[in-house]
Subunit: 278 residues, 2 copies
């Protein structure tokens, strides 16, 4: 398969993994965000991913992928995952250095494409850092003149958000957790989507999810972390029931650790490119 195909398959394997507490998965739908919205999002993003593979710049390819992804009624399904996948697809060498090279080479035009992508879907964001109101992504294309005045590349924009956004942190840190996810997927046995669900739980138990923190505050994100640790511990002792109960309770509470899922999708892509195959 081509890198663009592996990226689409990574999106599908990610959403198919179950139980994946708090996210739509093979067994769980939210009322307005269902499994089939993610299937449509993965197919719709194909043209943008293929454009990235063929040399279209990061920002333009990302915008095209998000536009394609948004052709379904569920809203934002894979915005964060695509923000990781586009530079991964473009990397000449699939390594932390290789993808850092792509990230650091981004331009102001790439940042503009990223901002325009927000016009296609409603993405959860927080207030921008102090003094950066003009760069608020919620301003969409209106923020673009501020980007130009500040001569800010997409990499610069990601660095400004790395404290509050787990996907931006990957951009700033050579995709460290994404590569870790890939290594862990390769280590595990069994079906690939099941491995991805296991890695998702392990990551959830290690660091608070920034998407949960944005939507529900740091306390809720911390509590999800502790509950994930308990569920993981029980699963290791041979009692998977607590994971299922945890998964069901997060769905009920509407808590959705999306950043962790995004990073697992990126990890799946790397694992597929390195030869793991369904």
């Amino acid at each position: 398969m081509t890198p663009a195909e592996h990226a689409q398959l990574a999106l599908l394997l990610e959403v198919a993994g179950t139980p994946k507490p708090g996210n739509v998965d093979r067994d769980r739908d939210f009322p307005d965000l269902r499994f089939e919205h993610f299937l449509a999002g993965a197919i719709g993003s194909g043209a943008g991913l293929r454009a990235a593979e063929k040399g279209t710049p990061v920002g333009e390819a990302f915008e095209e992928a998000v536009e394609g992804m948004s052709q379904q009624e569920g809203g934002n399904t894979q915005f964060g995952a695509l923000l990781l996948l586009i530079p991964l697809v473009k990397a000449d060498e699939l390594s932390p250095d290789g993808v850092a090279e792509v990230a650091e080479a981004t331009t102001v035009e790439d940042a503009e494409g990223f901002y325009r992508a927000f016009e296609y879907v409603d993405v959860a964001v927080t207030d921008p850092p102090e003094g950066m109101d003009e760069l608020d992504v919620r301003r969409g294309s209106d923020a673009i003149s501020a980007l130009r005045e500040g001569d800010l590349t997409l990499y610069d924009v990601m660095e400004l958000s790395e404290d509050v956004d787990g996907v931006a942190r990957e951009w700033a840190n050579g995709f460290e957790r994404t590569f870790e996810a890939s290594d862990r997927i390769a280590e595990l046995d069994g079906g690939i989507s099941a491995r991805a669900a296991q890695v998702y739980l392990e990551f959830l138990a290690r660091e608070p999810d920034t998407f949960v923190a944005k939507r529900h505050g740091n306390k809720v994100a911390e509590s999800v972390l502790v509950r994930a640790q308990e569920a993981l511990q029980e699963a290791r002792e041979g009692n998977p029931e607590l994971v299922t109960a945890f998964a069901d309770s997060l769905v009920e509470e509407g808590i959705n650790p999306g950043t962790t899922a995004d990073i697992v999708a990126g990890g799946l892509f790397i694992a597929l490119e390195r030869g793991i195959s369904p």
Copy 2:
């Protein structure tokens, strides 16, 4: 979405529908044929479907789609569905007449592509009709000289098999059941993959599945039909449990009504093209 994207999404929505007695679905894997093999098959067939959309002849596009589909370890996932989808994607007008035009315009070269496609996957087939041993698809490329000598187009080959193969029957009959499946999907309410699962059960209760007949004989296919009728009746009376039990028992018996699933996938494509959207 483009027709090729709708075709890929149709493959995904088909396999995601549950319960779909006897087939892999969102809730059921077979030991060696799992949900994720179907996800990979749907992504892998994309290049062939896009080629069909851009004017590549039926046989060549089908061969490319099957080759792409086969890039996973589960074996044959969507051979029959692609044999319906390729002419549907190519139809200028998405109607029984429009797709019959594509089918009837196929050439000997298209038949050759179809035969070559059998080299990529192990497809269940029966003995060919009397006196047609030379055309046995199990002979793969070796049967191609017989095709040339007989000047047989892909449409001719399909007509020869229409009595024993439900997909070939669609080719010979203007895709009658496929369009019926689409109409029924449009009539129903709810999520699209759930509608598809309902149509699958209704079709299973109406006509014996030719894939089951090939693999297990006509008696087993008849018994599946009767059990589907009972399950459907119970579901209509508000007891969906029998459908689930029926689904589990077919998986246990290794009975897999694949032709019915193929026709539902074709119906999903038509429904998506006509504006139904997840």
